[in-house]
Symmetry: C2
Subunit: 273 residues, 2 copies
């Protein structure tokens, strides 16, 4: 199968002009079929604050009431997505920005009340509001868009914002990591997919204070050892669990790397065995 | 040639929930190939006010500084466009929302300083800021999207927001009527195009206070007579001049009608002769 790379870039990179420029320069130069998935949470929090709307986060996820949904729709689908698209066009990339509602590409349902472990260790039932849990990514429509944008060897890319829809007319706020994983899984039916998470760290590190301690490769068996030895812990565990889940569901490999290194010369490659 | 209708709907319709529902119900039921172009100026003005940004209008056009450009990008490409797309999907329309930057579909250049006649009759040079004057609509890309969305007789539509880009990475605010006219002109190379302007009036009226006085058809020769008799005047003149210009450039007919009547059973049809 032909290769395709899904690159996820978080809000911290997206909203810093120099970091975004660095990321987009590399993304434009990256050869082969590619999809960019972006966040934008920090910009949304700031925009909400400017409008006098308090941002409520529980377990790292945004509680999305009707007013907050308007803000994330404006920031993710408008400000962030369209600026990325325009800047990619300036770099010769035939970019098309989408939400999950466009061509019905990602359908979701409103998250039901959910038990969440809070910071103090207690559990409570939380209504996250207009937050979508993904039901399906339309792999046929998405792969057909990828082919259209890259026809004749053209440099082209779909740019996904973290919004989905329920098919009843409602947009729903959806975690960008989830969009990236689900998109990668769906495209794995058509391509040999690499899923790359770009952030501000150089990869999975054995010593969080030492940028030179990046672990170049983690397999499912070495992951067990790293966990037992306590080398990886905390916030990295859910990321790695998600990575192995994506691999289990057909994604070829997952890369965790610095946003200046999307070709992954120095990040961590996560493979099945 | 096959028929295609470009329907332009203004901000006053878009931002009133009942009016928008009425328009989208009809748009979904409208048979044949179709493109929806929307405004959103009133919502942008309100959002700007909420953010403490003053909206400056000169000659009916928004002066768009850097902060205002962010607001219109959020409101037009995010809030308005994606809600329309989600609501069309709920009505079974395979909708795809675009700005001019997406797939490079509308390229423009930043408007140079322009001489404007102000309300008091004097002229002054105005810098409209990040406002785009359209250079070209990519008729090949746009018609190919129309065909893709409607393949196999499917109900589908492109939904255009009034933003373009300069190819240098900058989004530019562009009048929605202009987007509609330029889109209609470009698509006239591939289809027999009807350009329909939907607003809150039933059409061009011989008596502005009598909704029953709609003139059913205006040709270039009857337009001259209507102008000489003073039957049409004021704000309707530039609309009609633009309509005849669109027809001169290949659009089959222009319709001016109420937003509840996009099939135009009671509006004004503008034809060449």
């Amino acid at each position: 199968m032909e290769s395709l790379t899904v690159i996820k870039v978080g809000g911290a990179v997206v909203e810093d002009e120099a970091s975004l420029k660095c990321l987009l320069d590399q993304f434009a130069a990256f050869e082969g079929k590619k999809v960019l998935v972006h966040g934008g949470g920090r910009s949304a929090t700031r925009m909400a604050a400017s409008l006098g709307i308090e941002s409520v986060m529980i377990g790292g996820r945004r509680v999305t009431d009707a007013e907050t949904l308007k803000v994330v729709t404006m920031v993710y689908a408008g400000l962030v997505n369209k600026n990325i698209v325009a800047q990619l066009q300036a770099r010769g990339v035939n970019a098309l920005g989408l939400t999950g509602a466009d061509v019905d590409v990602i359908r979701s349902h409103k998250r039901p009340l959910k038990e969440v472990v809070t910071d103090d260790g207690s559990t409570r039932m939380v209504d996250f509001g207009f937050v979508g849990d993904v039901d399906r990514v339309d792999d046929v429509v998405l792969s057909s868009l990828v082919e259209t944008l890259t026809r004749g060897g053209r440099n082209g890319a779909v740019v996904m914002s973290p919004l989905t829809h329920d098919g009843q007319g409602n947009l729903l706020n959806t975690n960008a990591d989830t969009i990236a994983s689900e998109t990668a899984r769906a495209l794995a039916k058509h391509y040999d997919v690499t899923l790359t998470f770009c952030f501000e760290k150089p990869g999975v590190m054995s010593d969080p204070d030492d940028d030179d301690s990046v672990i170049p490769q983690i397999s499912l068996s070495s992951y067990q050892t790293l966990k037992e030895q306590g080398v990886v812990s905390g916030g990295m565990l859910p990321k790695l669990d998600n990575a192995f889940e994506a691999i289990r569901q057909g994604v070829g490999r997952v890369i965790i790397t610095h946003f200046s290194d999307i070709a992954c010369e120095s990040g961590t490659v996560i493979v099945e065995e």
